[in-house]
């Protein structure tokens, strides 16, 4: 087992971020998209922690904490919207959410 370096964090973070991004771009289920966004947030957290670890500073960790908090708030707002919409449309498929078209 080799030493842990910041690049481990970064590679993990990049992988998570890209998985999340691909999810957002390719999936059709609103909830899945939303979860992928959350995954991206957490990937960013990993990055911040990794950099903070590398530089031995607290800034990155603080930032990550704030991201967690904001992500929670975001989840609440997002879930509220998704819930209200799915109760009206009875679907969570984003392709079926298309009343707003010319």
């Amino acid at each position: 087992m080799s030493e842990l370096t910041s690049s481990h964090f970064l590679v993990l973070s990049a992988a998570l971020f890209i998985i999340g991004m691909m999810g957002v771009l390719t999936r059709r289920n609103v909830l899945v998209i939303f979860m992928c966004v959350e995954l991206m947030f957490n990937a960013v957290n990993v990055s911040f922690i990794g950099f903070a670890w590398e530089q031995n500073s607290l800034v990155g960790q603080t930032f990550a904490l704030f991201i967690i908090a904001v992500a929670a708030a975001e989840a609440v707002v997002g879930l509220g919207i998704i819930m209200a919409l799915s109760r009206r449309l009875d679907t969570v498929d984003i392709d079926k959410v298309r009343e707003l078209r010319e």
Partner: protein
């Protein structure tokens, strides 16, 4: 255990924000305490709070360029201008909102206090972005602003289109936020700090040629630009805009066309110019191309729209393009550089004309009409004043002198020409001509067609006053733009204080 440096904040510097926060608390408390039919009093509370917050800017010594909370919060001229723009936009938005929210335009009605609280939260967030001295503050401010606006977009929760717009706005907004903070992470990784001035200081060797640009910095730059591009609805990150504008309650559309955009541009100025200014060679071209694509797309697609809200949505994409031109004209922190000041001035004028345009749509809706072009038929015969106001807004958006929009565009073009971006200046001009097609159509329909549909008389004094204020502002502020422009130009002083 690292030595924790204790923060001794200068409360005096955040008085405007504190007043706004207090207003929010009062509004929320009023929601709980007052009976429902007295809720309309909260409109006045909100207006008073906003006005007070705006006035309290006078108590701060802006010349000193002070900062507090360990440099997280800056009270400089840039933040002053943002405070002014956002405060005014807030007041105007509240004025055009109250009758709509209290009225029966939306199924099931809307709760006023929550509406006001969300609006004020969003304003507060945007003010924080303007005053941010750290990437963290920018992130928090943007999110505070955006989250409230997501909720406002879906505020008419009995109407599917409103929720749908909110959903799209939310999903893409959250996506953009993720990209943005990933960019911040990389910036932090590459420079070891998240303080804007510090970043700039550490990047300075790059311009003097003593250090190369790391790939990670470029990645950070790209991610930041994309993330903020989403927030300001720059092409190709604009997909949410038309749907959100069309779906949202009309006053919210007006609001969200201005204040979140202000937040986005303030963040862009803070991040790209103040922090990453030394890397301007790397981002200027990107911004210029974004600007061109954005204005061409927005204006061309707007031509085909029949729904006025949607049309204004696309046109706001176009305006984003114009404002980006101002940013693309950055050439270094010199007293002559008009890039950021033209952006600021544009945002100021955009607040008046665009909230005004949506205000007229709100005004029509209060009288039982819809939001399509056909509903504007013969408005001049029914209400010459409303038609006149709409004409003023449309022509101003088009950029016709002597209205405010012309000055805004003029300054942007001037900034572009000053750094030799003639092609962009020409593009702005050509697109202004293109935009005449759809703005003029509204005017033409109002004056040249006969009225159709039912019309119910309705008294909306606050809305009417708001519209009058905005119309007069659109007419007058252009002529008196000199002091405003001087104020905007002080961004150099603000960003230069390292």
């Amino acid at each position: 255990m690292p030595v924790v440096e204790l923060v001794r904040p200068e409360w005096g510097l955040i008085v405007p924000e504190l007043i706004l926060l207090g207003t929010i608390v009062v509004v929320l408390a009023g929601d709980l305490i007052l009976p429902r039919r007295q809720h309309s009093a909260l409109t006045w509370v909100a207006l008073a709070g906003l006005a007070l917050s705006l006035l309290s800017n006078l108590t701060i010594d802006w010349d000193a360029g002070q900062s507090t909370f360990n440099g997280m919060f800056k009270a400089d001229y840039f933040s002053l201008f943002i405070n002014i723009v956002v405060g005014l936009a807030g007041i105007l938005s509240v004025m055009i909102s109250s009758s709509y929210v209290e009225g029966a335009e939306e199924p099931g009605g809307l709760p006023l206090p929550e509406y006001l609280a969300l609006l004020l939260f969003s304003i507060l967030g945007t003010m924080l972005v303007g005053a941010a001295g750290d990437l963290l503050m920018i992130f928090l401010g943007i999110e505070m602003g955006s989250l409230a606006v997501y909720a406002l977009t879906g505020f008419a929760r009995r109407r599917t289109t409103s929720l749908e717009g909110a959903l799209k706005y939310f999903l893409l907004g959250a996506f953009a936020t993720a990209i943005l903070i990933y960019g911040m992470a990389w910036t932090y990784g590459a420079t070891g700090t998240t303080a804007l001035d510090e970043i700039a200081a550490r990047l300075r060797p790059v311009i003097t040629g003593e250090g190369g640009i790391e790939a990670s910095l470029l990645l950070a730059l790209l991610l930041l630009a994309i993330g903020l591009g989403f927030k300001i609805a720059a092409v190709p990150f604009h997909m949410w805009t038309p749907d959100a504008y069309q779906g949202a309650p009309t006053p919210v559309s007006g609001y969200m066309s201005v204040v979140p955009k202000v937040a986005g541009f303030a963040a862009m100025a803070r991040v790209l110019v103040q922090a990453l200014g030394p890397l301007s060679d790397s981002w200027l071209t990107l911004i210029a191309i974004l600007a061109l694509a954005t204005m061409v797309y927005g204006n061309v697609v707007a031509i085909a729209q029949r729904d006025v809200k949607r049309m204004l949505g696309y046109s706001s994409i176009g305006h984003t393009g114009y404002i980006l031109v101002g940013l693309a004209a950055y050439s270094g922190m010199s007293a002559d550089d008009r890039s950021v000041s033209s952006v600021l001035f544009y945002l100021f004028s955009y607040a008046f004309m665009n909230i005004g345009a949506f205000g007229v749509v709100t005004w029509l809706q209060a009288r039982g009409l819809g939001v399509t072009l056909d509903d504007f038929r013969g408005l001049a015969a029914r209400s010459p004043l409303a038609a006149l106001a709409m004409t003023v807004f449309m022509l101003s958006l088009m950029g016709l002198p002597p209205l405010l929009g012309f000055y805004a565009k003029y300054y942007v073009i001037l900034a572009a020409v000053q750094v030799g971006l003639i092609w962009l200046a020409v593009a702005v001009v050509v697109m202004s001509a293109v935009s005449a097609f759809f703005y003029l159509r509204v005017v033409a329909v109002m004056y040249f067609n006969e009225p159709v549909g039912d019309w119910k008389t309705q008294r909306t004094p606050l809305l009417g006053t708001g519209l009058a204020l905005m119309a007069i502002g659109t007419l007058v502020f252009g002529l008196l733009s000199s002091p405003l422009l001087d104020l905007a130009q002080k961004w150099v002083q603000a960003f230069g204080v390292a």
